[in-house]
Amino acid sequence: MASSAGWAAAWVAEVARVVTADRERLTALDAAIGDADHGANLERGFAAVTSGSTAGGTAGEVLVGVGNTLISRVGGASGPLYGSAFRAMGKALEEPVTGTGFAAAFQAGVEAVGKLGRSAEGDKTMLDALLPASRALAGAVREGCDAREAFRRAAEAALAGARATIPLVARKGRASYLGARSAGHEDPGAASAALIVGALTAAGPAW
């Protein structure tokens, strides 16, 4: 099997690809309840990531580097949030990568988002996709699923979580200024989180 660093680099390269492919959709979602820069911000951030900082001996080191790049390059709220997530996940990911270890590291990344943003599930944020994904991933690993199946379930949970933000009223971020008018729109952060989790399925098995 390829090195864990190679796997992590493949994951973020796939994230960069899907974020670029879906840039207009993310921007349109953000135009409805935000400031219409989410697609461009993420595209710029992940382009910076793939253009240089994915070097590292282990997956954990690669992910910490990705986090630092996102924090310095995105320029919007998703930079510190996703940056902290990748950094925390990278710090928590031990070698050799196992299913249990991966699920725990993923959870650490998701918890970093909640801690920095002081947000919780149901606030209509990226956490509404990330927390169900983290639970699905951990549950699949506990059941003994292989990486491919665990990632498939996580991706499915993230997509369902993102779609479930549509009726919610935003309690965090710029959308929260809209109050009840934020309902009826999918949260762009949850939508991009679902893309990032979905990219796991294309990156191949991590353990």
Binding site: S72, G75, P80, S84, L116
Partner: protein, 124 residues
């Protein structure tokens, strides 16, 4: 002397608000600012904020006063207990209260408290 750093999505807003605060708080106050993405756009740059915090550090700590959104999140990333603290306060009133208190020689926790007290200020 505790430093105060104003952080805004807009370089113009941060610069002018800092000038205004400095004018009222007096020459003794250490007031810095960071705004925008660094390439002229609206947004937040962790490098610019870190540099402003470093520039306002006189050894007694720095209170960062962000405007909203990613300014707050990025400022939180730079927080170090007892060294760099984030005042989640009204931008103008909070920065002004912090700078006046800092200029009077108050310690870090008192400067932070002064900024947070700005939530209770009335316009007159």
């Amino acid at each position: 002397m505790v430093g105060v750093v104003l952080v805004s999505h807009s370089a113009g807003l941060a610069r002018e608000a800092a000038a205004f605060v400095r004018e009222i708080a007096g020459d003794d106050a250490v007031v810095g600012w960071a705004g925008g993405t660094g390439d002229g756009g609206l947004g937040t740059s962790v490098e610019l904020i870190a540099a402003a915090v470093e520039g306002a550090q006189r050894g007694d700590g720095v209170v960062v006063v962000p405007d909203l959104g990613s300014s707050v999140l990025t400022a939180r990333l730079l927080a170090e207990p007892g060294v760099v603290v984030v005042a989640e306060a009204p931008f103008v009133e909070g920065a002004l209260a912090a700078a006046v208190t800092a200029g009077a020689g108050a310690p870090l926790d008192a400067v932070l408290a002064a900024a947070l007290e700005a939530w209770t200020f009335r316009k007159g």
